[in-house]
């Protein structure tokens, strides 16, 4: 950091206080609903359904989570989801970085045209039937690659990287060219390291997209070995909500009162699923946060 300090005045202090207050308040309203979900998933389900669990968990139990881990096919789906997230994100980040950089190079043949060609696809929606038929013709139904290939070229991320590259000093690239480096070399040795913050951004966006995706599974994949985690859990929620109706149909003639504390409601399942799906992201996120760090540039230009 710099040794020089900027001059402070009264406005400064007011702003500092305001900033802390506002951010704290906003963080609270972001965190509280999440906290609410967590304490409700570990509290007795009937009390939770009555809306009595607001600040503290009551009658703690972990049955909700245990039940979900018993869902058949969960572990396989987890593997699938992790695979597609890792592989898909790596390829997307790579492609976005490469294309984002290449589109800043004027010398490409018809650069502007191809850039527009790429960008406008963000607004296309061909309809579900032609998309399905295209994927089917390409042999991408019941195929793991269907999770990966369509996501590799992502116009939005390309735009982000391109904008970022354009804000870096041109001297860096010029110096390398004079030293005799080719475009690919410059990309690999210079641009990639410099773009770390934006690539981390693209990585986190893309990873979350892959992790949360399941619309693609809905129609393309019928082989249960390829179901992703989100789909299995969505399936579980759907089944549980109709089962709870069935259970009650049966109840009309039974002797038992099932333990309402651990008997699931659709909402309790939804909440538990949310926590299970989000928890891994929260663990991985700080790793990417480390890339939001200044200082890589100083040495580059001066040196």
């Amino acid at each position: 950091m710099t040794a020089l300090r900027r001059s402070t005045d009264v406005t400064d202090i007011i702003i500092t206080i305001l900033t802390y207050v506002l951010f704290s308040a906003f963080t609270f309203i972001c965190v509280y609903p999440f906290y609410y979900i967590i304490i409700n998933t570990i509290s007795a389900n009937d009390i939770s359904a009555r809306g009595e669990v607001i600040f503290w968990p009551k009658q703690v139990h972990f049955q909700n989570y245990i039940d979900i881990f018993k869902v058949p096919g969960l572990w396989n789906a987890l593997m699938i989801s992790i695979s597609r997230t890792v592989l898909g994100t790596t390829l997307t980040v790579g492609a976005s970085a490469f294309l984002g950089y290449m589109f800043t190079k004027d010398k490409i043949w018809m650069r502007k045209f191809w850039y527009r060609f790429t960008i406008i696809t963000m607004f296309f929606n061909a309809g579900i039937i032609p998309w399905y038929l295209t994927m089917k013709t390409l042999g991408l139904t019941n195929n793991f690659l269907a999770y990966i290939l369509p996501t590799i070229v992502a116009p939005f991320y390309i735009i982000l990287v391109k904008t970022f590259v354009e804000s870096t000093p041109k001297e860096l690239q010029q110096a390398a060219t004079i030293d005799g480096a080719g475009t690919l070399m410059i990309f690999w040795r210079i641009m990639l390291p410099i773009c770390k913050p934006i690539l981390a951004t693209v990585a986190i966006f893309s990873a979350v997209d892959q992790w949360n995706a399941f619309q693609d599974t809905l129609l393309l994949v019928t082989d249960s070995n390829l179901y992703s985690l989100q789909f299995i859990l969505y399936n579980y929620i759907k089944q549980a909500s109709s089962l709870s109706t069935l259970v009650n149909l049966q109840n009309a003639g039974s002797t038992a009162i099932a333990s309402l504390a651990t008997e699931q409601t659709t909402t309790s399942i939804r909440m538990t699923v949310t926590i299970i799906v989000v928890a891994p992201i929260m663990f991985v996120y700080p790793i990417f946060q480390r890339f939001f760090v200044k200082g890589i540039m100083i040495g580059a230009v001066k040196g």
């Binding site: 979900i37 060609f117 966006f205």
Partner: protein, 314 residues
């Protein structure tokens, strides 16, 4: 001499052409991927001009031309409905455009926080709402704002009201409410892009400002903000192009008979049409129109940007 000079020139021109061709070849595989997954399925737009009902194949379906497009405005009632839907879309998209600078300001002031742990915590925690699906958001909203919910309970305890306020069925301020929910859910997440951009700002610029004795606000105004503007304008142009695409899930979960008039944005209108048993061709027709309008908006705003700022985004 001339011959040699001419040779060198020719070689240079040729090598330039080669270079541009080679560079094109580098991006060609990606363009092919795009052509296959994004452009090829567009043949499906043709369904909009037929009366297509699977399983009857397209070849045996009757051709109807622009019938579906016309059907959206064929009676006064329908026109009134469509106008209201467009007003809703404009209302919500308009609000979002008006406040599109929020993530940027959020990032800037977040960056001003000196306490590193606090800053990182805020940054991580404010992204949490992004991960809660809209269906679950509504469950929480219901738990809080229903007639037996937390807010009404609190208000009643304080003696402020006698009978509960039905927040969720309120038809006034619908756009504002929807905008607040979107902001809550996406602010922390969208700010990430700007946070990344801030880290790329050259330190020497800051140093120069301190040397000149700048205050915090002056530094932000003269250093940070200008560096973020390129990113902001790109995102703004994209947001304008996406004007008609509000998304479906949020409005679907919040809609009920009482707020429907103001909450039904175009995407929800199309969904309600299709789910109610509307034909597939109609939904293709509408989505085709939206795509074309979005692209048109994109290039219009881009042109505007060129005139005003001297450079375009695309």
């Amino acid at each position: 001499m001339t011959a040699i000079g001419g040779d060198r020139l020719r070689t240079k021109r040729r090598s330039l052409k080669n270079e541009s061709a080679i560079h094109f070849l580098y991006i060609l595989p990606f363009l092919i991927l795009l052509a296959i997954f994004a452009y090829l399925p567009l043949y499906g737009w043709i369904y909009a001009f037929f009366d297509y009902k699977p399983p009857i194949p397209l070849s045996k379906s009757p051709f109807v031309g622009f019938k579906w497009f016309a059907s959206l405005v064929e009676t006064q009632v329908k026109i009134d409905q469509l106008i209201q839907v467009i007003k809703n879309t404009f209302g919500i998209s308009g609000l979002m455009l008006m406040f599109s600078w929020l993530p940027m300001i959020f990032a800037i002031f977040l960056n001003e926080i000196r306490a590193v742990r606090f800053r990182k915590a805020v940054q991580t925690l404010t992204t949490l709402p992004n991960f809660i699906s809209w269906v679950l958001v509504y469950s929480i909203a219901f738990a809080m704002f229903s007639s037996e919910g937390m807010v009404n309970g609190l208000l009643r305890q304080l003696g402020a009201i006698d009978s509960p306020i039905l927040f969720l069925q309120d038809s006034s301020h619908v756009w504002l409410t929807m905008w607040m929910w979107i902001t809550w859910k996406s602010l922390g997440w969208s700010a990430i892009m700007y946070i990344a951009a801030i880290t790329s700002i050259d330190e020497s610029l800051y140093e120069a400002a301190y040397v000149d004795g700048a205050t915090r606000m002056q530094v932000i105004w003269h250093v940070t903000l200008p560096s973020l503007l390129p990113t902001y304008f790109v995102l703004l142009v994209l947001q304008v192009a996406n004007f008609l695409n509000n998304g479906l899930e949020q409005y679907f979960v919040f809609q009920n008979a009482f707020n429907k008039e103001y909450i039904q944005v175009l995407d929800l209108y199309v969904y309600n049409l299709a789910i109610g048993g509307g034909s597939y061709s109609v939904s293709v027709a509408i989505s085709m129109m939206k795509s074309l309008i979005s692209v048109a908006l994109l290039f219009s705003v881009n042109q505007l940007s060129k005139w005003l700022r001297g450079e375009g985004v695309v």
